[in-house]
Point group: C2
Amino acid sequence: MRAVDIIAKKRDGQALSQAEIQWFIENYTRGDLPDYQAAALLMAILLRGMEREEIFHLTSIMAASGEQLDLSDIIPYAVDKHSSGGVGDKTTLVVLPLVAACGVPAAKMSGRGLGISGGTLDKLDAIPGLNSKLTIDEFRSLAQKNGIVLCGQTGDLAPADGKLYALRDVTATVPSLPLIASSIMSKKLAAGANGIVLDVKVGVGAFMTTLEDARALAQMMVDIGADAGRDMIAVISDMNQPLGVAIGNALEVVEAVEVLQGGGPADFREHCLHVAGLMLRLAGRGQRWTDMAEIREFLVQRLEGGQALDKLRQMIAAQGGDTRVLDNPLLLPQARIIETMVAERSGYISQIAADKIGMAAFELGAGREKKTDSIDLAVGVKVHFKVGDYVKEGAPLITIFVNDPERLKRAQFHLQQAVWYSDTPVEPLPLFYDTIYGSK
Amino acid sequence: MRAVDIIAKKRDGQALSQAEIQWFIENYTRGDLPDYQAAALLMAILLRGMEREEIFHLTSIMAASGEQLDLSDIIPYAVDKHSSGGVGDKTTLVVLPLVAACGVPAAKMSGRGLGISGGTLDKLDAIPGLNSKLTIDEFRSLAQKNGIVLCGQTGDLAPADGKLYALRDVTATVPSLPLIASSIMSKKLAAGANGIVLDVKVGVGAFMTTLEDARALAQMMVDIGADAGRDMIAVISDMNQPLGVAIGNALEVVEAVEVLQGGGPADFREHCLHVAGLMLRLAGRGQRWTDMAEIREFLVQRLEGGQALDKLRQMIAAQGGDTRVLDNPLLLPQARIIETMVAERSGYISQIAADKIGMAAFELGAGREKKTDSIDLAVGVKVHFKVGDYVKEGAPLITIFVNDPERLKRAQFHLQQAVWYSDTPVEPLPLFYDTIYGSK
């Protein structure tokens, strides 16, 4: 085989065979093909697309490029979840202990935030002492012992994806649905889950800004998982406004704990109950947990009975973290300056632009531009209203947590543009737009 | 500026500005941008296209990347010609001395053959002693002294094109009309001609196989030249069957000399008269040589009067070549084995596939696969009939000149498939399909 022939085939809009994709990816990952040939192929894929079969092969080959976890000897059925990233999305911190409290082992590897999107690993860092750098042996052992473990992705998982992603970043080939879907799913397949719930965000604060694109991405990822023999469900959820109230790493940990204590913001609690419910549904494999109303009831009991919070406590303790933060949030990183932004006028909130709120949190220091940037775990904002709410002029609208007055100013610039008002009633935004089930 | 933003702009189908193209090409040529970013941009250009203005800027910037000849101090008006490459195309060897014999200085840089396409430089190599590696000073001096010079392109001309072409070759980004047109024209612009006649071949033996593509390429190159202030004419000429009778380097020199002596195959002679006529027309700039019939008459006189042949003699002598080859073709490289292929049946010739004839010559050793391959100047074929001719079974159809019996066998395989017969009369192929004039 010759790389140039494979590039030409995709350039001309033809589907690549499994053998061709395998030859190219394996040689590239080994360093036997130069970056420029991979760059040309990536651009051809972006502009010509890929068929379902090609995307499956690409994903499987990237998943097989490194270590592939198999938890079947220690867990009867492993569930995982993945969010495409958003503003205020601390769902994992709630649903992982919640499903674990239902007797479904939850072993998950998470990522860090980039740009305006937060990442679960950064939120974990806010918990003093917690170790999120586990070896695969430690990961397996905690999954088996406690039925709950949450850590960073090891570099041994899907190294082909790591190399290709770095190249996509500098060749303007990131925004390709087949490449996004295969990149995400290669890591999910390698992590060894039997069932995966995908939370694909859509809106101004998400990577996908149209419902059409979000649906296409969700369908593609669900197809990949199904073709790989995994049970798949994807939800399309709203990211036009932030999820919940808190945005910022330590602030989000507090909010997640509130939900696990039976409280928390209504929208975020509902979001968690739905995602956790779908994870149970997958884990029940048609035998248990078939009725979503019953599942919800079951989950609410686990929240209100404290079992879910206990599971998080167990997880933090097992990974060396300070469990006292669950009872005393002041032990988490605290910002020195707290500022309140009030409503400029009375009216119905018509928009709380998630992208601008995310930019504000980024400016406060909660996010990073490059993977190597350090962040401030204490800072962030709390947005006290939702689209559709009525506010009176002067009511506290947003609380800002910050350590640097200069950063405060830059954040306020974005926050002022984020909130829009209307004189007439405004419909609340839905939490979910669609659910997509996998089928081979 | 950032390379990734420029790639993304083209990826999304937008036109690049002059500043963006200049920044990218200059940085890439200097080695300040990596090959993988150029590869991604090339693939995006191939799949998204370029507008007339972008193509002009790209060409001008590549032309300006190295030395740019200016012959205006030594020649009032410099004419040049370029062929997109074909089988049996030895036009330059005739038209250059022919226009020079009309008092129009002809100073041209040529290239080598690749694949089934021949190149003028290889044909020059067949003339013992002839030096085609001239410095720019030698080139200028001969142009001024004799009004005729023909040599290889110096590496100082359009180095950006050289670097980009090498990358295109290994990234499957060769077949893009804007990239082909800008590559050819960057060298033509840098070579300093005031008027350029483009001979764009179309057919099974040409790079462009459809009239639509050939017209589009011709129009693009004519537009580039016009935008750069050059006088431009393009002809679309047939390359479904070989041009003339001889294919192979020394054999083609002999055929070119035959035309300069007033003889030669009718189709090739007509082709040369037309191309040379258009060169005169450009050089006349609307003052002289406006009527093509008069021009033809004038050119025929120069052929039959021997002035054109004298001009070639002067050129060969000035560049150190053995001028005796003009009177004694046996002084050119000779093949040891001469084989005749006869007509399998009686009938009208319906096809003499130029690609298969070209492959046969390639197999005999007349062509090269890679730029660094050496070739056999003596070998080749003579095809004694044209499409539309009637042949009788057993008539000598093709003469094969070869040095190696194994190569003969491989060539015969292609030749047997090249010729098709018909029981009913077949229309001859036209020499030209279209003429395209430049306008700004």
